[in-house]
């Protein structure tokens, strides 16, 4: 039970700082770029 409490707090703390949000944003940008590349290839094919 304590494990869940501790893990929950760590996760919440993570999103209190910009770090986690920044990482997510960067990841999102990379994924969208990959998606666009894929779609372009598909259109040419």
């Amino acid at each position: 039970m304590s494990i869940l409490t501790i893990a929950g707090r760590e996760l919440r703390s993570l999103f209190l700082s910009p770090l986690a949000w920044t990482l997510l944003a960067v990841l999102q940008a990379i994924l969208s770029y990959a998606l666009l590349i894929q779609m372009e290839r598909f259109a040419e094919w």
């Binding site: 707090r9 703390s13 700082s17």
Partner: protein
């Protein structure tokens, strides 16, 4: 109050590699008592408290809390105690309410009980207006209070505080001491400190530790109570010669302290003080001060640590 001790420590040893920090520590704590652990730096105070709180295992020896063995039943024991380490374990990015709620959950309070418990400790520790503030933005004194609040959130019968007033300003120190006194009613408290005035102010009993051994374990009243008959300090405006004072019956020895001050050692119940008073009036010595010498805890501490006197010599005999 004498009964089954709530905390019992027997023959505790702890070594860090070749360094023996605790060497056969034994003591007891009754319910509702405030025990002060005193000692110079490196005496083993923090190690003792860490062992008591279950954060460190002893090399040998036994600790029982509320009749349960700390090594055999660690979880049951840890629910009985609250611990404030030297540096309060705070998360600066959380608000006071969030943090206390987290601690309450860690202490296995049910979700439904958490808000009431948080509310209660905030009130006890004077944190009513800081619930929504970030811990990182609080002053050191308030952070210390949050640390104490965290230690008492599950109303443990035993509270262990490691140097609770370190780094605080004098007003905050007074407030923390008052808080400790308030807590003493329902909790047993062990606190460590090297500020002797603090131990004198808040503790019922003090234990002086040096090099991992208990040098003295006594009630504060008895340590500071002075000796039987006691020595007396006097000051005269027109000081007489030492031999004139020595001539008074009941005075054992006289020591001149300069500028008309003397330390007299009187034989108990011999009426030496009254004799001295009437002599000084009759011969116009101009007695302007007469104070029985009381031991401050500091004096006892320094003498003990320097190894000048045996503990028994510093105390008045038991009535």
């Amino acid at each position: 109050m004498v009964g089954i001790p709530f905390v019992e420590v027997r023959d505790l040893h702890r070594t860090y590699g070749p360094l023996a920090v605790l060497r056969g520590l034994s003591f007891e704590l009754q319910t509702g008592e405030v025990l002060g652990l005193l000692g110079p730096n490196g005496a083993g105070k923090t190690t003792t408290l860490q062992i008591l709180s279950g954060a460190l295992t002893p090399s040998s020896g036994r600790v029982s809390i509320g009749g349960k063995d700390l090594i055999a039943e660690p979880r049951a024991c840890k629910l009985l105690l609250g611990y404030l380490p030297e540096h309060p374990p705070l998360y600066p990015e959380l608000t006071v309410d969030e943090y206390l709620g987290f601690c309450a959950r860690l202490r296995q309070l049910r979700r439904a009980q958490v808000p009431a418990a948080v509310e209660r400790v905030r009130e006890q520790c004077g944190l009513e207006d800081t619930g929504r503030r970030l811990i990182g933005n609080l002053s050191k004194g308030f952070q210390q209070r949050v640390g104490i609040a965290q230690a008492i959130i599950h109303s443990p019968p035993l509270v262990i505080l490691d140097e609770p007033t370190v780094g605080l300003d004098p007003i905050q120190i007074r407030e923390i001491r008052r808080l400790i006194r308030e807590l003493a009613g329902e909790h047993s408290i062990i606190l460590s400190t090297h500020i002797l005035a603090e131990a004198q102010a808040v503790c019922d009993r003090v234990q002086i530790i040096n090099r991992g051994q208990i040098m003295l374990s006594e009630t504060v009243d008895r340590v500071t109570g002075g000796r039987p008959g006691g020595s007396v300090q006097v000051a005269f405006e027109a000081p007489p010669g030492i031999n004139e004072i020595e001539a008074i019956s009941g005075i054992e020895s006289v020591e001149s302290l300069g500028s008309g001050r003397f330390r007299l050692r009187c034989i108990p119940n011999s009426g030496a003080r009254e004799q001295l008073l009437s002599e000084s009036l009759g011969k116009r010595w101009g007695l302007c001060e007469l104070t029985p010498e009381r031991h401050s805890l500091e004096e006892v501490f320094v003498r003990l640590i320097a190894g000048e006197e045996e503990p028994a010599a510093l105390l008045e005999p038991r009535a």
